[in-house]
Amino acid sequence: MTENDTIVARPQADGQQPLLQAEHVQLLFPVRSGDLIGRTIGHVHAVDDVSLSLAEGQTLGIVGESGCGKSTLARCLVRLLEPTGGALRFRGADVTHLSRKPLRPLRREIQLVFQDPVASLNPRKRVGQIVGTPMRVHGMKRGDVSARVRELLQRVGLNPEHVNRFPHEFSGGQRQRIGVARALATSPRLIVLDEPVSALDVSIQAQVINLLDDLQDELGLSYVFIAHDLSVVRHFSDQIAVMYLGKFMEVSPAAELYSKPIHPYTEALLSAIPIPDPRENRDRQRRVVSGEPPNPILPPSGCRFHTRCPRATDICREAEPPLAEYASGHLAACHHPLSVSPTEIAAAKRSPLSPLSASPLMPSGREEAAPGTPLPGAPRVTAGPSGSPDGQDAPPQ
């Protein structure tokens, strides 16, 4: 965990090689017509040109609303899905299009923990079988398996005597621990956690987060932590990426995202989370973003957030903003960035992680004072529940 070892590490980062890299990864799901021929009539842009790089021992948080493509991205990263474009590298080796068999060694190193601890455990199998299966699949001897299963159960805070129980005999938090034990079975280097605590009670959430934290410290694991909630990822991410409609809107060192959100979407997400403090909540002028995420089959032109963005202007509708790199490796794809001074904007560079389709236009910083766009320090306006300021509603279904 070196200070400057941000995930912005270039494809050829000097010295240490990143564990996992995604270069312009794209995953489009074809939409077929309902007729007999079943022609492809469009694509769902689930993951649309996303680049990232994760160093060993680090945690990347990916946050976004449902349907933004974060789970699809997670499934791409573990290669449960094959990207339709771009490249995925694990320790430098291209794994984008590997077939089932050559993927096996990779499966051992990258594991996934699912959101739903009920649906992700086979109800007819005993815990010992569930946790032991990955080991047997990867050729561990039967005798060694049962010892290792007990050790893992103990490690995740379950009673090793419970190997013969069925998943339904455990509480939600315990079931999630079984999921974590199964992920650890093959001693992976990277675990992709797809909303691992969303289904749990707050007090149990804290237990599971602390467990994941301990495991990371102990085993030097890298995590990709997917969440819909910015308050959960804050706890143990080094970097956080905010995703919207298949694209990264902002990628930032964890703490800075909360104190200095640059993208209006990030700010909207932050301000939508109710603070567990009634007085502060009452005093806070919340900016409720109107509308819903648009249809990912026909994503909006230009900046994908422009249909809901209170700061959107003509340029946002026309040109897709590149990811601009500000100080300390903070990236944001916005023509009208928040929380940055004109000098910072002038010093920003176009990040190589920018989507290939992004326009060359970098934020100029002069729009800051343009009429109609609120200044960063100006009092927030609460938009009504329906209809965005410029009359742009959610696009047709």
């Binding site: 959430q205 237990q207 009634p278």
Partner: protein
């Protein structure tokens, strides 16, 4: 307060006969809901919060369930009422929004028709008039192109829109009490903010009482006037939202408040979890239900403390804990904030 009172629940007990024995899901729960008031029920899963509100709707009735106590909605009893009497009230006087809108809507019926069905079950109106009302309700809860969308099936809606349909349906007969059982848990934060605004606005407009079941303390702070904290089937604390957040009396409430992650603060090194698991509700629980997980438990906790006001300055603030309020003020401090213990182990 008595004059505006809509619902009075008294000593409600709900238990279920199971293969493992009698599960006491709700024990001795009493509370009231008044006009225009939002009462939040918080607690972990299995604490009995959903069973409590489902019992008010008559949804826990089964050959295996046993009830005691009463729940009166403007004088009409809900617990012992015959099914027929309940049917007249349910949907009309008391309505419910469920957590999961996809499984609470029929997948094979257009949403407009589902709202129409509910309206026509209670009122003699023509289909066309009922549909007009359904459309009006749908647009009132923020569904664009309501007339057109009323012809759509639930799967054609997003999660947030489906929840709006549920709200429209719940409001279709202007109930005096609206129960919302984790209505935003399945939604995204930006949509949650919209739905909370919607519920707040509607409760203010219609003057209905709202029971809001949630486990999210952020949502509680945002929407509630009063808060009931449930643990293992019992109310352990109840008070105004400010009392619960700034002067919590029960250690379980401290634990809940302590384990919340805040988006606006630097997180502590370790999240303060509440150690252990909630107790099994099979059989009788002796003494304070929280005592096995409570680091502050002492001998007296073997006896169940009554739910009583313990602070002279706040007669409406009730809790079930034997500790002296002055002792509690010291003990609930955990690293500069309220918590059960400082960074408890997982």
């Amino acid at each position: 307060m008595m004059d505006g009172q809509l619902l009075a629940v008294e000593d409600l007990e709900v238990s279920f006969a199971t293969e493992d024995g009698l599960v006491r899901a709700v024990s001795g729960v009493s509370f009231t809901v008044s006009r225009g008031e939002v009462v939040a029920i918080v607690g972990e899963s299995g604490s009995g919060k959903s069973v409590t509100v489902m019992t008010l709707m008559g949804l826990t009735r089964s050959p295996n369930s046993r009830f005691a106590g009463s729940a009166r909605l403007r004088g009409q009893d809900l617990v012992d009422a015959p099914e027929q009497a309940l049917e007249a009230v349910r949907g009309k006087e008391i309505a419910m929004i469920f957590q999961d809108p996809i499984s609470s809507l029929s997948p094979v019926q257009r949403v407009g028709a589902q709202i129409v069905e509910q309206i026509r079950a209670h009122e003699k109106v023509s289909k066309a008039a009922a549909l007009d009302r359904a459309v009006e309700l749908m647009s009132r809860v923020g569904i664009p192109n309501a007339r057109e969308r009323a012809r759509a099936y639930p799967h054609e809606f997003s999660g947030g829109m489906r929840q709006r349909v549920m709200i429209a349906m719940a409001l279709s007969l202007s109930p005096s009490v609206l129960i919302a059982d984790e209505p935003t848990t399945a939604l995204d934060v930006t949509i949650q903010a919209q739905i909370l605004d919607e519920i707040r606005q509607l409760s203010a407009e219609s003057d209905a009482g709202v029971i809001f079941v949630t486990h999210d303390l952020g949502v509680v702070a945002d929407i509630a006037d009063r808060v009931l904290v449930m643990y293992a089937g019992r109310l352990v604390e109840q008070g105004t939202v400010d009392e619960i957040f700034y002067d919590p009396q029960h250690p379980y409430t401290w634990g809940l408040l302590g384990s919340v992650t805040r988006v606006d603060r630097d997180p502590p090194r370790r999240l303060p979890a509440i150690p252990g698991q909630p107790p099994s509700l099979v059989g009788t629980l002796e003494g304070c239900p929280f005592r096995a997980r409570c680091p502050h438990a002492f001998d007296r906790c073997r006896e169940l403390p009554p739910l009583a006001p313990r602070l002279p300055e706040a007669p409406g603030h009730l809790d079930r804990c034997w500790l002296e309020p002055s002792v509690k003020r010291v003990r609930r401090q955990a690293g500069g904030r309220i918590g059960l213990t400082e960074g408890a182990a997982s």
